[in-house]
Symmetry: C2
């Protein structure tokens, strides 16, 4: 069965068996049974326990096969060693969805991992979807059912939440009950032996009860699948993620600039960005955003109206808006006139609207509704400070009423204070208005929602360009390098590979003697560059391994000898293949274009300011391959050099299209050849518009045999 269809059954089963159900309090099998019963599940509940009898009022069965009717879903809470047998029984019984709560698999080591694989294989073969093992379970507040051992059931809401940490879910559930945040689905991913975050995100995307997707993950199972799913789902609903833990890629020592500059988290950050997923910086922020989104529409633009009864908090809010890319709306003439007529003369009727410390509930109603009605306003922030004449609760009530009249525009409240604001805050929350204690958190949450709108619209359904390439020749070169038992390609080899993909490179010839060097120089034409050819020497210029601007045979000869001597002196153990003789490219703007490879997400392309100071300037940006032309364009624009290339201060623009082409050709090369684990072009010279680029120094490292 199709996984998504399987998840549909899991989300809305007509019958649930609890295998390992127990009548004994304190046992997980008892917790699950009680949760299931208490959650008001309307379908059939079948406890399964070798002792049979009755459990919490439901007839128990010795085994799942003993149940006469169909079983849609089985929740498994038995010791790990029995799980495989039971899963096989479920397959026989044609159960469609498994929730394996039992722990003691991959997380305890190799043996557990093998057992887990075996179970997943059985599930896969029999078309069963499977959550876990080692998870808290799953809750659907709309079905409704709670098939987990959680302490309590979340309130019904529209947030779909999946988490890789069960403990975190427990904490969040407890907290959400206090904060009155509702969920639609509450899914513990566990070890992700079969169903992973991408499967759930896809299902959340189709789920009519969910408007917002929240994730806590420590890793993704399949980077490409994750990105493909997210790109589609974000078109319909926001995905916000907390990603913690260091990626495995970070552990590998990098020999290229690109590898060393891509931090352990760069691939995740890039993947999120490229697929429209928003990354929250903290748990608190994640739920601030969820809190706003749960009840509200998305802001159509970034124009904010602020209503306050005190100057200071108004200023703080204005500052926060500006810091987060939101703008203080210029109110329409109608609004201003209405406020001027109705408010006291000392009130500020431009934005922020200061209704003064004496503001009464009706003043707040007037201002809030005027702002909600105003077409120049995309969202409204209402601030209340507890002053002598402030009626906090009544003010909360009128704000709720205003929201009911104009429900389409985001409306957030900031009720600054403590004890006197407790009840008003409940009034607002129950009225569907997100409320905060300080302005900055409200502004941040609103800004994140607006950012989602921008992210969503930036994910384009654009095709990946396909250039003609001589892949056979590339295969040959790689084969030769392998036969030579090398990982690092010689300059001549790397340049040849680049040429196979149509990248304009400086021509290069390997010379093994001073005489050969002068001969090759004659062939290429003066001036030339000489570079040490050794797979062991990565930073050639640091050891005097490069000589540029050589104009005569005599200069070439002298340079050859000096380079070889420098290499012998500084790196006596390096294997030296000779010296590369290279045609001297005309100088242009120095760029770096490179690629490293992430374990989860594959080829990670870097672009930025090149030259020997790359590591110090750090003017770089990243995208995951394969890339579209928009990706290449945005990648360039993220860097400062990208702006300079467009031509500033009277300089002519550089050949932007040729640079994009080079990036896209690299993207295609490293997508075609997984063997290429690192690639650096540094520098590539960019010339004026129409004059192209030239890859001056190409370095390639390949991995072991596949």
């Amino acid at each position: 069965m199709d996984r998504q269809k399987g998840i549909d059954v899991m989300f809305d089963p007509k019958s649930i068996a609890v295998i390992g159900a127990s009548a004994t309090k304190g046992k997980l099998g008892n917790d699950v049974m009680r949760n299931l019963i208490d959650s008001g599940f309307g379908g059939r509940i079948y406890p399964v326990n070798p002792k049979a009898g009755e459990i919490l009022g439901h007839q128990a069965y010795r085994a799942v096969n003993d149940i006469a009717s169909d079983v849609d879903m089985a929740v498994i809470v038995i010791p790990a060693k029995y799980v495989l047998t039971v899963v096989k029984q479920c397959a026989e019984k044609e159960v469609k969805a498994l929730v394996i709560i039992t722990a003691g698999f991959k997380e305890i080591g190799h043996e557990g991992a093998e057992a887990e694989k075996e179970i997943a294989k059985v599930a896969e073969e029999h078309g069963m979807v499977m959550l876990g093992p080692n998870c808290l379970g799953i809750i659907n507040t709309h079905a409704p059912y709670n098939a987990s051992f959680s302490a309590g059931t979340p309130s019904k809401g529209t947030i779909a939440f999946a988490s890789q940490s069960g403990a975190l879910m427990t904490g969040i559930l407890d907290w959400s009950l206090m904060e009155r945040i509702g969920f639609s689905k509450f899914v513990s991913l566990g070890n992700k032996a079969q169903l992973d975050e991408a499967d759930l995100i896809q299902a959340f995307g189709r789920d009519p009860d969910s408007t917002f997707v929240l994730l806590y993950i420590e890793s993704v199972v399949d980077g490409r699948k994750f990105m493909d799913v997210c790109k589609k789902v974000v078109q319909k609903k926001p995905i916000f993620v907390i990603k913690s833990g260091v990626s495995q890629a970070g552990a590998r020592a990098a020999s290229s600039h690109t590898g060393s500059l891509a931090g352990s988290d760069t691939a995740y950050d890039t993947a999120f960005k490229q697929s429209g997923v928003s990354r929250a910086t903290s748990m608190a922020e994640l739920f601030d955003i969820a809190n706003v989104f749960d009840d509200m529409h998305l802001p159509a633009g970034n124009q904010v109206a602020i209503i306050t009864n005190a100057g200071g908090p108004g200023i703080i809010t204005t500052d926060a808006c500006e810091a987060h890319g939101l703008e203080i709306a210029e109110l329409s003439q109608n609004t201003v006139e209405l406020l001027r007529e109705e408010l006291p003369p000392a009130a500020a009727v431009y934005n922020p609207i200061d209704a003064l410390g004496t503001a009464q509930p009706e003043d707040y109603a007037l201002c809030t509704e005027a702002a909600l009605r105003d077409e120049k306003v995309d969202s409204v922030l209402v601030l209340v400070t507890p002053q002598a004449m402030t009626k906090e609760t009544e003010t909360a009530q009128v704000i709720v009423e205003s929201h009911k009249k104009y429900p389409d525009k985001p409306l957030l409240a900031v009720f600054m204070g403590g004890n006197s604001m407790v009840y008003p805050r409940i009034v607002l929350t129950d009225g569907g208005i997100p409320v905060f204690d300080f302005p900055e958190r409200a502004v941040n949450a609103l800004a994140e929602l607006y950012q989602y709108v921008l992210n969503r619209d930036s994910v384009k359904d654009e095709s990946i360009p396909k250039y003609k390439a001589d892949t056979d020749r590339v295969k040959e070169i790689i084969q030769e390098v392998r036969e030579d038992e090398r990982r690092v390609l010689l300059g001549s080899e790397a340049h040849a590979i680049a040429e196979c993909y149509g990248i304009p490179v400086a021509k290069i010839r390997l010379a093994t003697s001073a005489e050969e060097a002068t001969a090759k120089a004659e062939e290429l034409g003066y001036p030339v560059v000489l570079k040490i050819a050794s797979p062991d020497i990565v930073h050639k210029s640091d050891i005097g391994g490069i000589k540029v601007g050589l104009k005569t045979p005599r200069e070439v000869e002298a340079a050859f000898l000096e380079i070889v001597e420098n290499a012998r002196k500084h790196m006596p153990k390096a294997i030296i293949y000779g010296v590369d003789v290279q045609e001297m490219a005309e100088e242009g703007k120095e760029l770096i274009i490179g690629c490293s490879r992430d374990v989860q997400f594959g080829p990670l392309i870097m672009f930025g300011a090149g030259g020997i100071f790359v590591n110090y300037l750090k003017d770089i940006a990243f995208r995951l391959a394969p890339m579209t032309r928009s990706d290449a364009s945005e990648l360039m624009k993220e860097t400062k050099i990208g702006t300079l290339l467009e031509g500033v201060r009277g300089e002519p623009p550089s050949d932007i299209v040729a640079i994009q082409d080079t990036i896209l050709r690299i993207s295609q090369l490293v997508t075609d050849f997984e063997e290429i684990v690192e690639l650096d072009i540094n520098p590539a010279f960019a010339y004026e518009k129409g004059k192209g680029v030239s890859a001056v120094d190409v370095k390639i490292t390949i991995g072991g045999e596949k």
Copy 2:
């Protein structure tokens, strides 16, 4: 009387008169009386009201002069028009401190401002200190007294708080009562007609009841005084500030690079940094930090131990620590062995310590005390998630006990969850342990406290270097420019001023004809540079106003004509003084050194990567003048070019000392001459160590007559 002595009286008066006291509920004069009585003030209370009689059990007086005994402090809550008269009466009565709550002064316009000045003048002449007008009042929880119209009195604590916004204080007071945060002093600054933030900070610094200074300000009255006071106070206690609102400097259009690159908030940011003041990014953060500091010692280093009962939250906390510059401590062998012996085998005994979901209170006690004892640990974070076997309240209790045994090391708790954590959190708070709902906020607060330790230690008591300078010649040049009714100096003038302060500049001569240009070129020696000399043309290269590397009289002649033509073509209205002929400096690393002037803080020095792309590279940093050599050194290190100048990738180091000297000479120049409102040296070429620098293009703009 000395202001600080006056504040001492204000902080601890023996007698307080409430001028405008009222028996009528709802009047501010009634609120103040009730707060004063309810706060348990032990001194004499004198209500003053024209109707006399008795107010809230205290005999009232018609006027302050009618009181027979001494009056230390007078709180004034009468209509604005009577305030001056009453202040004069207070002067006669030899009152020492005034708290003017009355509004209707500077904030309502010119007339109010004049009245305010008059009142401040009387106070100053008679040696009275004066808070306000237009303020909420002042509270000292240790005296104790509450001389304000606040709704409620804050709990006794060690945080001294001063705020420019009364409404904000009201909100914070209410909130602090709920969050159980205590204050020592609670001061509303109002219009700051006399006492300003710096006076209060200085007093908080001396106050034995205050260990922590919090500020909310929208502006400072005197930048230099503020910095001087803060530098001293941060040596003893942390100062955290929320600064909102846009500085006035932002409004002025800037013609220099430095001016345009210094944002409206740069001077404040720089002032805070240079004086060891920490800037909080939000109200919530400010109070998170206060919450931690209120009860805790400062961390001695950045090594953190994390104790948890679940993996996910442990990972999140680890990530947060790394993001904030805190390190996960390597536990000492003793600790690891103890934990391995006592905890279940599956527990993680390295840091983070995972005592597993089954962790009982005694396990938490064991881990917490082991971490607190460990010499390799500077602070401890205890995380608790509500799992099936978790005893939240008992766990809170043992953590409090552990803290009592080892009170010298910061100990923070994160109890993730909602309803089940409410009571445990109270236990912790009452036990002096700051507690948070999510890990990131706890980590952020801890990191900010550690950052304070670093800031404090970075503020050095170092003298300002004093270079020999020809100030008379500078005065002459400025006078000549003024007589010429210009603001922008010609290149030759600007270079001459730089030379007066010992800055090595490329020599420059003004030529008004092609013939004169060749003559000057002969005098300076070839090659030369020609630049348009016009106060109206700021970005010369943009209009073809610069020609470099001119080697012959013929080239100079051609360049002269072309430059003048370009200028006429592109800027036909520009006044052209001729063309500057300049000796061609040997190329070096391009720097920019500049200065703009901030309204509050004076000269703001900028250093960074120079050249025509300054605005795009934005590799710049700022310091306020006058500067010490350490300031100059740190300023350089904040930029990427600063690292490159130290010599990387086999390059020789640049002449760091000469660059510092140039920065310090500029600092002295703009401190000596307030007329200089903007100054740019761009580029200055930096050469190898020992070979100095050369200022190639110096631009100076002067302001109007003082």
